[in-house]
Amino acid sequence: MTVAVSLLFGAALVGWLVPRFLARRVVSGGDPLVAVVAWLASATAVVATTIVGVVLILLPGHGFGQSMLTALHNCWSSIQHGSVPNLEATTGALGALLLLGLGVRLVIVSVRSAQRRARTRADHLAVLRIAARREGETLWLEHDDPLAFSLAGRPGVVVATEGLAKQLTSAQVEAVLAHERAHLTGRHHLIIAIADALANTFPFLPLFKLAPGVLRELVELVADSAAVRVCGAEAVRDALLKVSRNGVPGTALAMSGTSIDVRVDRLTHGRAPTSRRRQLFSCGLAGFTAMTLPVLVASGAMFAVVTVACPA
C-alpha cells in the first residue's frame, strides 16, 4: 500500500510540477525540442506510474501470489455477505475501473479525431490541388495576403501565397518555407494531435491540461530554430515580424501577448541552436530523466515517510 500510494503521489507531483519547470527552461533559452521530448515522456511516465500504482493497490502486500481476480472476487463476496470490503480492495478496484474507462476513452477520442483530421485534410487538398500552382514541394496560391502554412499528411505539403513572395525578401521567404518544412519533417501535427487527445482524456493535471497550448507554442519554437539553422535568425525574425504585422483580414491578431512575442524574443536574444548531435543527446537524456522521474519522486517520498514514521 505504501509503495502504491508513493507511486501515485510521485505521478501527481510530476504531473503538477514538470510543466512549470519546462516552461522556465525554455524561456531562459533552453532547447524547445528537448522540452517537447521531456513533456511527452513525462506524460507517458505519469500514466504508466499511475497504472502500476493502481495494480499494486490491487495486489495487497505486493505479494504477487494473490492475483487481481482473487482480490476482485474477495471484494465481491464481502459485498454479497453484507460486509464492507476492505479499503485497499475497494480503492484498487475503483482505480482500475477508472483507468480502464479513461484508456477506452483515449482510444475512442484518438480514433475519432484521426478520422476527422483525415477528412479535413482531404477536403483542403482537393481544393488546393486545383487552386494552387505546384512548384517543387510547395503549393503557391495567387493571393495578396502574405500567408504560409503546412498541411499534415504523408507526404505533407507546404502552402504559401504569392503575397508572401512579393512582400518578403527571398531569404525571408526561404526562412518561412524552412519553418513550415520543419513542421512536416518533425511530425509536429502528430505531436499536437497527441496533446489534444491527452488533454481530452485526462483533464486534471497541468501536464495534460496545458499540453495542447504549450506544445503548440513549443513546436513553433522548434520549427523556428530549424529555420535558423538554414537561414539565420535574422531572416526568420524579420519574416515573422512582417507576416504577423500584416495579419489576416477577418482574424484579429493582437501582436502583444501572443506566442509571437515569445518567438521574436527568442530569435532576438536566444543563443544559436546547438549541433544536431548534441541536440539528440540532450533529447535522449531529457526523455530518460522524464521517464524515471515519477519513480524517483515516489522513492524519495517513501524514504521520507519511513524516516519520519519509524525512527530507528
Binding site: R20, A23, R24, V26, V27, S28, S113, R116, R117, T120, D123, H124, A126, V127, L128, R129, I130, A131, A132, R134, L141, E142, H143, L147, A148, F149, S150, L151, A152, V159, T161, E180, H183, H188, H189, I191, A193, D196, L210, P212, G213, V214, R216, E217, L218, E220, A223, A239, L240, V243, S244, V248, G250, L253, G257, T258, S259, D261, V262, D265
Partner: protein
Amino acid sequence: MHGLGELEAAVMDVLWQERPLKVREVLDRLETGKKLAYTTVMTVLDNLHRKGWVTRELEGKAYRYEPALSRAEAAAQTVRAVLASSGDPEAVLMHFALSATEQESDLLRQGLRKRKRLAAS
C-alpha cells in the same frame, strides 16, 4: 485517383489562361507529356463542372467551358476555407504566424514577462 487530381489541376490551368474553351480545344492545349483521350478530358471537365469549378454553355452540339472563378478568387476562397478551419482544435495545419489563440497557454509568456521584469529591475 491522384492522377485524376493532377489532370483536373492541369485542365483548370488551361482554362485560366484562355476561356471559354471546348473539350477539343482544352485537349489541344494540355501539356501533359502523353496524348490523352478526348473522353478523358471530357470526364475531367464533367467532374470539374459537378464540383462547381467550371460553368458550361451549350454551343451547337458541344459545351463551352469557363472557370466559375478567376484564379485569384479561387485562391482567396481557398485561403478563407483554410483559415475558417484553423480555429478547430484538430491538428491538420499549422500557420507560420497565426496560432490558435484560444488554445494558447500562458505558461511561456508568464515566464517571459517575469524575465523581462527581472531584467528591468
